[in-house]
Symmetry: C2
Subunit: 229 residues, 2 copies
């Protein structure tokens, strides 16, 4: 479902070029549960942003669901992001003026597949699963750090995406709450065949992965599959 | 250096009252390295905000450096925040339009104790210690999540505060980078007698604490000192 070939990403800051990815290859098959690990600044978020079509590569090929993202129009990219991918951002990226309920419902409104009652049922189901049903009317700035993170998780899963990209989804969670989120994702992976690609430092997430891909300084270091670990 | 007596904190959202702290007691002596643990939403950030004088309690007494914070004027609170306390926020709270260097230098400019050359030396020393000397000219939005977190750490330590409040300071860091930050704080604690109060889920941070205070649903649960653990 994801195929990355010799991808590079440079950020240009004035005259300085910051090479965030220096030629990375990655294959992810449908239904896999992959963890991307590596030190702070090694390029994990950059790689997820390219797969999630929220940024474009400087060089190389990024294929998602069989499509070369460089060849797609803005409209096709938006369609891919809305209907195929769910993204949990490292900084959550919630809409401050909407309530928790409205934040999670938002992708369903864009998709226009469900009526109001169906949307309500689906949103409350997700909020229940992440432990925030009693906070549905709160605004993001009225929540704790870990509560905001869980709203971001619920929003990414509400559209039943084929592919979920999760950037440090448990960073702000205590071990019990974090384990609950991991179990929720693992269940989706096993029951619905949802593919998950995580960026994480959390050993609990990595232990569920069927492979851990390590980055260092923008380079692919190695890939250890669970069978070998 | 910190004495909390029967402190309560209620957030009022329209007609709903959210009791974030329901009567908590806490004593922290100068030079201690204390960890506050508890599930997401249990009140850790709320407690640190009261000690850090960025919020006021609904009931009870908060004493910092011997002063009852409820009796202080805004000017005295600002003085306490600037000269006695260093705060590492859970969401970093960096100034987006300033560079990394300017963000860390900012408290020194407010203090007016050092000249430009002294400020430069002090800021670069801290950036070196958190591994970001090469990113001094970057803006916060040009950094990775863990890099932004480390800028927030450097900014909190630059004024050599007596008391450092660190809200999840290693949440976005890989284990090596996180350990480096913990070692830096432990060194300050041992060499300069800086008092540290952490909110954390990271077992590595808790293992350095001389006591772990646990919160659950806004209540004090227990305090386990390292000697007993
Ligand atoms: N500004 C606010 N307005 C209303 N309620 C709030 C506000 N900030 C926090 N709360 C609520 O107070 C409770 C405690 O929040 P707090 O941020 O202190 O928790 P925490 O222990 O730091 O959690 P986390 O580990 O997720 O960061 C939560 O239930 C939260 O919803
Ligand atoms: N918008 C940007 N502009 C310029 N440089 C950037 C930008 N975003 C990231 N970088 C740089 O690219 C490199 C990789 O960043 P990235 O965010 O992918 O790392 P990461 O592995 O996710 O780190 P972390 O674990 O700290 O979140 C870093 O050195 C960072 O400074
Ligand atoms: Mg990142
Ligand atoms: Mg918190």
């Amino acid at each position: 479902i994801v195929s990355i070939t010799n991808v590079t990403k440079d950020y240009t800051l004035g005259k300085v070029v910051v090479p965030a990815l220096r030629g990375v290859d990655l294959e992810v098959h449908a239904g896999e549960f992959i963890s991307i690990a590596g030190p702070s600044g090694s390029g994990k978020t950059t790689l997820l942003n390219l797969i999630g079509c929220v940024d474009t590569a400087t060089g190389g090929v990024v294929r998602v669901a069989g499509q070369d993202t460089k060849q797609l129009t803005e409209r096709q990219l938006t369609n891919l992001r809305l209907n195929t991918i769910g993204f949990i951002f490292q900084s959550f990226n919630l809409v401050q003026v909407l309530s928790v309920f409205q934040n999670v419902e938002f992708p369903l409104l864009l998709q226009r597949k469900l009526d109001k009652a169906q949307r309500r049922e689906r949103v409350m189901q997700l909020l229940e699963q992440v432990g925030l049903a009693s906070h549905a009317k709160h605004r993001p700035n009225e929540l704790s750090g870990g509560q905001r993170q869980r709203v971001a998780v619920a929003r990414a899963l509400v559209t039943r995406p084929q592919l979920v990209l999760a950037d440090e989804p448990t960073a702000n969670l205590d071990s019990v709450t974090g384990q609950n989120i991991i179990d929720l994702m693992k269940e989706l992976n096993q029951k619905e065949g949802t593919t998950f690609i995580f960026s994480t430092h959390d050993a609990k997430v990595m232990s569920h992965a069927n492979a851990v891909v390590r980055l260092a300084d923008g380079n692919f270091l190695d890939r250890i599959s669970a069978a070998e670990a």
